[in-house]
Each structure stands twice: as C-alpha cells, then as structure tokens.
Amino acid sequence: MQFDVPLLTLVIWLPILGGVAVLASGDQAAELSKRLALAVAVAAFALSLPLWLAFDSSTAQMQFVERAPWIPGFGVEYHLGVDGISMPLILLTTFTTIFVILAGWEVIKQRPSHYMAAFLIMEGLMIGVFSALDAVLFYVFWEAMLIPMFIIIGVWGGPNRIYATIKFFLYTFFGSVFMLIALIYMGFKADSFSILAFHTLPLGMTEQILIFIAFLLAFAVKVPMWPVHTWLPDAHVEAPTGGSVILAAIMLKIGGYGFLRFSLPITPDASSQLDWLIIAMSLIAVVYIAFVALVQQDMKKLIAYSSIAHMGFVTLGFFIAFAIIQRADFDSGAVMGIQGGMVQMISHGFISGALFLCVGVLYDRLHSRQIADYGGVVNTMPVFGALMVFFAMANAGLPGTSGFVGEFLVILASFKADFWFAFLAATTLILGAAYTLWLVKRVVFGPVGNEGVAGLTDINLRERIVLGGLAAAVLIVGLWPAPLLEVMDATVQGLVQHIAMSKL
C-alpha cells in the first residue's frame, strides 16, 4: 500500500526540525520548550504508526518508498523505504523517544531545551539510518547520529565524561571508516549507491571477505560485540539517563540492523565462510560478559554488560542461519534464528531502556549508582520496587515477558545449528538470572540500607507513566509476539532465500 504523503520523510524530518525549533525556543521558557519537545515526540510517534498499520506483511519488497536524485553525478539518491526488518525498529525509536523526553522533564536543570532538542534531532537521524536505502544517505545519517550523542554525554554526562565520549567516538568512528571504503568501492562497482543494488551485485570471494570485514568492524563496535565492547560500559556510566536509554534501546540496534541490511545480503558467501567467527564472538559475549556482569558494583555498568550479553543473542540468531543452511538434516530453522534476533533487539530496547530508567530514578534521588549505597528500596518505594523486579525478571528472560521470546527462538534455532551453540546460549538462563536477581536482592530487597534509602519517596505520576508504559510493552510482546513476528516474516523469508544463494 502506498501513501500520497511522504511518510518516511515526515517521520525523519519532523523530529529534526522540531528539535531545531525546541533549540530556538531557548531556556527562558523552559516549560514551554519541554512541552513543545513532548508534542514533537508524540507527533512523530503518531506519524510512525501508519507505517505499522498500513504495512503489507505479505511481501518482502520495500514499502513507503521515496526516491529522488540527490547528487546525480555520482548516482547518489535520496532513497527511503522500509521492510519488515526496519519498520519495527523505527517504531521502537519513536516510542522510546517519548519516554526519554518524559524522563528528563524535571531532572535536567542545565539547558533543558538543548537536551530535548538533542534527543529529537537524534531521533530523526536514527530513523534516517533505518529507512535509508542509499548507501551515502545511510552513511550521512550514521555519522551524523554520533554528534548529538557525543553532545549529550559530553554536556550532561558524569565526571569522567570526556574520556567516555572520546572512547565512544573513536571506537565507533574507527569502525565506520572501513565501512565507508567498502560502500564507496561498491558504489563505483555497481554504478549506483542503492543498497538494494548492492544486494544483487556479484562479488568474488576475496572482495566479499574484505567487505564483510569492513562491515564487521563498523557493526561489531556498534552492537557491541566482544572484544570491541569496552566503550559501552564507560559511555553508559557517564551518560545521563536519557542518553543511556537511547544508547541501549536504539543505537545498539543499528549495529544489528547493519548486519541484516548489509553483511548478510551483500556478502552471503563471506558470511557463510566466516560465520564461525561471529558465532564464537556472540557466544563469548553471552557467557564471558555474563560473568563480568556478575561482579559489577555499579548498577549502570551491570546493566551495560547485561546489554552486551543480550545483544550476543542477536548476532548469534543472525549467523546461525548459515550453519543451519549448511546442515543436511534440517530444512528450516534459519528464519527462526533471524526472527529471534530481531525480536531480541526490540525487546532489549524496552527492557534495557526500562532498567536504565530505573537506575535513573534512583540516581535522581540519591545521586549514586553504586549498588552498595542501596538496599531495601522496596520499603520506601514499593511501586518502584515492584516495577524494578518486573523488569529484572524480563531481563532474566521470564516467559510472558518480551525478554523470553527472542532468547527462546534463538536457542531453539541454534539447537539446529549445533547442540553446543544451544548449550552455551542457554547458560543465560542461569547466569542472566544470577546477575539480575543478585542486583535486585542487594538494591530492592532487604532491610533499609541507610539514611538515604530511608528518606526516599516513591515514583511520581510521570515516572509511573514512563515505567508503566514500558512494562505494558514488555508484557504485550511477551504474551502475544505473533503480530511482531508476522510483520517481519516475509522479509526474513526473503532474506534467507537470498543468503542461501551463492554470489560466486
């Protein structure tokens, strides 16, 4: 179904222009600019809803396509469109941004309008990344997106923010330079920068491997995969709550999205050849990082490490597809792995976002992220305690929450690839429960730990709306993931058919 209005353009540019307007409104009328920001975020979400409602889930084709020449000399176009992989991620972006705006409402005292504007602009840019079908356009959004995040951590961040921002920037920039080279190379070879043209571009094995590695460097840093993950805990610890939420909920997903949009379809043979590498990195992320998460003393670091472990399921789900395709005794399973990875991305967006918001709620009150500074929070904040336990259980993959769906599908699929893949992946049931529940035990339960905890006040209406909204999302996806799987089904089927065919 096609719309007469350029929906994707609107969803990208409304927040960006809205952000500029918020910026212009200044801090003199802070209340007004906050309301304006909220209105823009809600409007962007409302505009993104038709992407879901009018989405044709029977086809793997790109939908809501917009195409116009941009730099004709180089074949660069303003080319947008979504399929079943990108559309849910766009909705995740517009949905989460509302909560981020709300979460910063009272807490951000320093230049609130700039803060809100940065998030709105970033929202537009991230949607641009998800909907760009032209490599150059994609790359512009991809790099531009770093700037607001850089500013958010650098201005509103913690004491060690400079180290964290530079580490963050260098890490991600290092990765994306190689991607740029690969994109330019293919652009010249295909005589077009259309990503869809790259998908069908014939490439030799060596070319594929080089391109695959270039993409891997870019996406692995973003996800982040072990061993290029160490920027994430530092960035999270220093970032303000909203920054952490966006970072965990959406920015990491851009890495996962990149694998599906670029690595798998453009270099299927290299992916198939090197799948062991990604699978090994993913499983190390699941097991190794879980142990590291166990010993963290800082709540944000713990959740950051937990994010890395959970994102390990995403990349695992994507790359076991090749191992399954190669096996003779199973004729299906690849689709389930990729779908599981996709659901895991969406779910992790809700859950990690909510957990960072929970830490934010505590940090706003006691200005500490150290686990040791808390204890017995439920005695003074029972509503918050209940919500935090709920999100912790979701993080531990309890069935009925969204956290279960992705892990379940990936474990089921990885069993088909190799028993030991499933074995290592399933350790998350134990390790994930261990680090999450130990956190809950030390923070939420127990006798009141100190004077500070004794003086805490429970969450207010605004905080209840934010955490309650995310809890509802976690529960709905957990109890009925069918619609989410349905919208991505045709696209993922198409992708699996595509990657099963050699380009050689």
Binding site: L210, A293, M336, N379, L398, F415, L429, W438, G446, L485
Partner: protein, 664 residues
C-alpha cells in the same frame, strides 16, 4: 467447553489482579474474598470436570486458545489439554489452594508484626499475599492444563516466579531474600536442561504440540544424535527434560533450594513447596510417558535419582529441629518416592502418591503452621511438647497426617507408597534393585522422623517458656476447618482412588506404558479389592519397617523422653560423625557456595580485570590510542594548514585504497 476451562484458569487470575492492584482500596476483607471466590469457583468447576469424567460422558479436550507466534513453520500455541490426568491435577491444585486461601486469613492476620513499622512494603502485605497465592493457582493451572511444551514452560517459570516472590515475601529478612534467590537460580539450572530438551523436540519433531510429538515419537526411536559419541535422541530429550524436573521437584543434586524455601510463610510452604509446585516435575514426566517409555536409559536415570533422594533426604529429616524443616525434608524424600515410581514406569502410582501426598503433606504443613502461630513464630521442636492438650484439633489432624505419611494401613499414603515400592520391585530397568532397597529402608526412616517430630511436639512435658504456654490455645476456625477438610482425604482418598487410578482405566488414555515395562499390570493381576490389598501389604517388609520406625520413635521420644528430656541431643551426640554429616546436609550447600557461587564471582573478576581492563582496554584500546598519539606527534609536521595539501592527500589516499581493492 473452552469457556469452562478458561473460567477455571482465569478466575484465580482475576482475583490476583484485583487484590494486587486494588488491595489498598478494597481492604483486607475485599482482597481475601475476591481471591477465595476466584479460587473457589475454579475448585468447584474443577471438581465438576472430575465428576464429568467419572460419572458423565465428558470427553478429553484438546484445543488451542490462541496462537502465540508462528516462526519458520512452527506454530507456538496456547491451548488446553484436559483429560483425566489433567482433571486429577486440577482438582488437587484448586482444592488444596482453596484450603490454603482460607487458612491464610488466620495465618496472615497479624502479619504487620513481621515487618518493620515504617516499611511501606509491609503496609498491605496481607492483600499482596493473597494476590500472590491466587497468581500461583493461575500459573499452576496453566502448567497442568497445557497441551504443548511452550505453555508448559510458561507455567513452569511462572510458578517459579511466584515461588520466588513468596519465599522472599518477608523481604526485610536477609535469610528470606537469600533463599528466594537461591531457589530461583537453582531452578534455572534445571530449566537450562529443560529448555534444551524443548529445543531438541522442536528441532526433531518440528512441533511443540503434545499430541503431534507423541504421535511422531515411535518413528524417531532409532534416531541417534552425534553427541558424547552417539546417544539416542529420545534418551537425550528424556534426560534433558528430567533435569528440569530435578530442579522443580527438588531431586538431588538440585534439591538444595527446597529446605531454604521454608523461609516463606507457612501457607505457601504447604501449597507450593509441598502439595503442588514441587510435584510439577512428577506431573511432567507422567505426561511425557509416551516419550519416556522409549528410553530405558532415561527411565533408569530417573529411578536412581529418585530413590537416592528418597533415602538420603529422609535421613536428614532425623536431625532437624525446625518443625518446618522436618516436614520439608520429608517432602524431599516423598518426592523421591514419586520420581522413583516414574522410573519404574509406574506413572500412575507416582501420580497417585502425588495426590495423596498433596493432601497429607499440606495438612502436616498447615498443622505445623497452626502450632507456629500458637507459639508466636517459634519453630524449634525442642522447645515444644505437650501441645495436644492445648490444641486438640491441630493435634488430631497432625496425627492423621503423620499416619498417612508413614503409610499406616488403610490411610491414603499406605496405598500409594506400597504401590510404588511394589512396582519398583517388579521393575527390570537398570538400578531397580538398588532403588527397591533404598525405598524399603526409607519407610523405616520416614516413620522414625515423622513420629520423632510428632512426639516431641504434641506429647511429653511442655518445654516452652511459661509466658508462651499461658497463651497456648487452639487456632481460629479459619485455620482448623482447612485442617479438618484436608484430614478427610488424607484418610480416605487412598481407599477410593486405588482401584481406578492404579488398576482401572482412569489414566489409561493419558498415560502410555510399554508392555514390557508395565509393572502395575503385573500387580493388577493380584489385585482383589482394598481389603485384600491392605492384608497383603501387612505381610510385606514396608509394613514392618513402618511399624518398627513408629515403635522406635515412640520408645525414644515418648517413653524415654519422659525420664530424660535431653534424649534427642544425647542421641545425636552419640551418633557423632554420622549426625554431623546429616547436619551438614552432606555438604551440598557448602560445596555450592564455595565452588559455584564463589567460583563464578572469581571467574567474573578475572575476566573483568584481566580480560576487559588489562588486555582489551589497556592493551588494545588505550595502547592503540597511545601508539596513535606517538605517531601523531611525528606526523603532526605534515599538517601544513594549507587546504590544497589536504585535498591532494585525501584524493591520493582514496585512489590508493581503491586500487588495492580493485586489484585484489
């Protein structure tokens, strides 16, 4: 039909939601009424389902309610399978749950005392407790009524969640929140196996629907999986699923969480940690009988684990002094009996014992709870004694429960336990003789620890302090009525159920036993009614052992205790190292704490400090940053500040890179 079953499941959920979210508004009475009505409705309808199967023309029901997800051609559904096995479980779960709901009104009436005054978490704890136990009932019903492995796992984890919330209910107690975390994580070790088992089923059967899997199972009986040098697929599945059952049904070595779970309020010890949730593993294996029948290795594994647990855990019960822990170790031991029955392919006997045990063990726990509230939360049996004079109903019902537990002829436990031991004796799988010996000797141990506790609590001179004794009185009717209502089936259910359950066709459609394993059919040939069964039982070793245990307990803890009140401590002193081993619970807790908990933290520290910090951060990241810095210091001289220099450098660079690419 679907609406009936939906009502049975959802009524407790509605009660739970109302009491949980609006507890403060509707008050204590509102909360307990809404939950009791919900569970009561569910219990009444469940009994009507049983009646429909018994006397009506009700047919087994197997339909999907909704499609949870479809992925890669596999349909994941939420649906109900209600046959006679399910109906039995539904009736037991909802009936015991209803009794526990009523009992809770009395037990939790003064729960405010259990919380620090200023704690907001304790403000509406009464309502919250009702919300949790109703939520538990919902989850347990979802588990037993499932028609597929996905929903089974849902229920499996949901009862685990509620168990977690309830063990740690008094969240200001350090021991409670340690116990609930331990329970959840140990259960997750079991679930680790369970989910791999489900994954194996999904991979090889392409479906998680029971009916489809069972139908396809014989065709896959010869499939080998290339693991550990080749293992039969169905053995792999059977063992993996059973590892899940070992967690939930607390079989060694995953039993360690159950004794600690006694930190929770007593009503849930009765409901969750004795009557229902911990029997989920037994139910699951019985439900999967068409799979297990195809793997003797898995059956043998189950038999050995169950018998070992039954014997070793019973022994620990001898040295416990906390009234709830005695009952908890007794539960572990009895679960071992049920598991052993499964291993001997006597699934029906396992389910039968599950049912009788649900009644008498819930009764024993609730009676213990009645004593505990009368003594203001004192649980040490060394400071009890002589309570029968003050609490006649509690005393009599506890006596009934104890007699049922030790298998006194005619009581419910007699029928079920005898059947298990005889079936194991008739079994021919590997380890059957070992299991039979342990289970038979275990009968003596059971009688000894049960009546040690009984005599120490109810007979002899009162040993509590004067203040406590002055206030001793029988519990209110909300406590005693459930005791009486549970005592009735504890006596009679065995008599009435033995024939249809073990030797009739009550479970015929639900449980499948291969001909060569059919130990119960062998017994059925010699079955000539209840009287004959009892008389036959009274000529067998278990009967003499039970009576022997009872007699020894009476001699020591009734007769000798009168003269020497310290007899128990003296005996334990004399037993020396043996008692020490039992008191240390064979060292499982210490080992787990040191090796698994300590080890994991150690690994975490090493990976974090050495892996992440030293190697990756200091080595790779900051190291390369340093190198770049040093390099930049030299390269800085190239920076001329002229734009055309840069432009040329960029173009040259790009050309070089592209050339490299193109030529490769």
């Amino acid at each position: 039909m679907e609406n009936l079953y939906l009502t049975i499941v959802l009524a407790p959920l509605v009660g739970s939601i109302v009491a949980g979210f609006f507890g403060a508004r509707i008050g204590r009475a509102g909360a307990h009424w809404v939950c009791i009505l919900g569970v009561g409705l569910s219990a009444a309808l469940s009994l009507s389902v049983v009646a429909g199967f018994l006397w009506g023309d009700l047919e087994p029901f197997n339909e999907a309610v909704y499609t949870w997800a479809v992925s890669d051609g596999v349909r994941f559904e939420i649906g109900f399978l209600v046959d006679r096995l399910t109906a039995s479980m539904m009736a037991v779960v909802t009936f015991v749950s209803l009794m526990v709901h009523i009992y809770t009104i009395g037990y939790m009436a003064d729960d405010d005392h259990n919380w620090p005054h200023e704690s907001l978490a304790g403000r509406h704890s009464y309502q919250r407790f009702f919300s949790y136990i109703s939520l538990f009932t919902f989850s347990m019903l979802m588990l037993v009524m499932s028609n597929n492995f996905l929903q089974l796992f849902f229920g499996w984890e949901a009862v685990g969640l509620v168990s977690y919330l309830l063990i740690g209910f008094w969240s200001t107690r350090e021991s409670a929140i340690f116990a609930n975390m331990k329970a959840f994580i140990v259960n997750r070790v079991g679930d680790f196996g369970f989910i791999l088992g489900i994954a194996a089923i999904a991979a090889y059967f392409g479906s998680l629907d029971y009916a489809e899997v069972f139908a396809a199972a014989p065709g896959l009986a010869d499939v080998e999986v290339a693991l550990f040098g080749g293992v039969s697929l169905l053995t792999l599945i059977g063992v993996l699923l059973f590892i899940g059952a070992m967690g939930k049904s607390a079989q060694m070595p995953l039993h360690v969480w159950l004794p600690d779970s006694m930190e929770g309020p007593t009503p849930i010890s009765a409901l969750i940690h004795a009557a229902t949730m911990v029997t989920a593993g037994i139910f699951m294996v019985a439900r999967m009988s068409p799979l297990y029948e195809l793997s003797e290795t898995a059956l043998s594994f189950i038999l050995i684990v169950g018998a070992t647990t039954a014997f070793l855990m019973g022994l620990i019960g001898l040295v416990q002094n906390d009234i709830k822990r005695v009952v908890a170790y007794s539960t572990l031991s009895q679960l071992g009996y049920m598991v052993a029955a499964l291993g001997a392919s006597a699934y029906a006997a396992g389910i039968f014992h599950l049912m009788t045990h649900a009644f008498f063990k819930a009764l024993l726990f609730l009676a213990a709870g009645s004593v505990i509230i009368a003594l203001h939360h004192n649980q040490d049996i060394r400071t009890m004694g002589g309570i029968r004079r003050y609490m006649p109903i509690t005393w009599l019902t506890a006596l009934i429960g104890s007699l049922a537990l030790i298998g006194f002829p005619g009581f419910s436990g007699f029928f079920s336990k005898d059947a298990i031991i005889e079936a194991v004796g008739a079994s021919h799988v590997f380890g059957a003789t070992y299991a039979w010996v342990l289970l038979t000797v275990g009968v003596f141990v059971t009688a000894l620890y049960s009546f040690r506790m009984y005599f120490l609590v109810f007979h002899g001179q009162p040993r509590m302090d004067e203040h406590a004794r002055a206030h001793l009185h029988e519990s209110p009717w909300v406590v005693t009525v459930p005791l009486i209502l549970l005592a009735i089936p504890s006596i009679f259910i065995g008599w009435y159920a033995v024939e249809p359950m073990l030797f009739g066709d009550w479970l015929a459609g639900a449980i499948h036993v291969a001909h060569e394993h059919d130990t119960l059919a062998h017994m059925a040939e010699h079955y000539h009614g209840q009287w004959a069964f009892i008389l036959h039982g009274m000529t067998m070793p278990p009967f003499f052992l039970a009576m022997g245990g009872l007699a020894v307990a009476a001699w020591v803890y009734w007769w000798l205790q009168r003269r020497n009140p310290d007899i128990d401590a003296e005996l334990q002193r004399r037993a020396g190292p043996l008692a020490a081993i039992l008191e240390n619970k064979y060292g499982f807790d210490d080992f787990n704490q040191r090796v698994f908990a300590g080890g994991s933290r150690g690994i975490g520290q090493v990976l974090w400090q050495t892996g992440d910090r030293r190697l990756i951060d200091d080595g790779l990241v900051n190291g390369s940053a340093r190198t770049v810095g040093q390099l930049a210091a030299r390269v800085r001289h190239i920076q001329t500040g002229f734009l055309y220099h840069y432009a040329i450098a960029m173009i040259v660079g790009l050309i070089v890179l592209l050339t490299v690419f193109v030529t490769l």
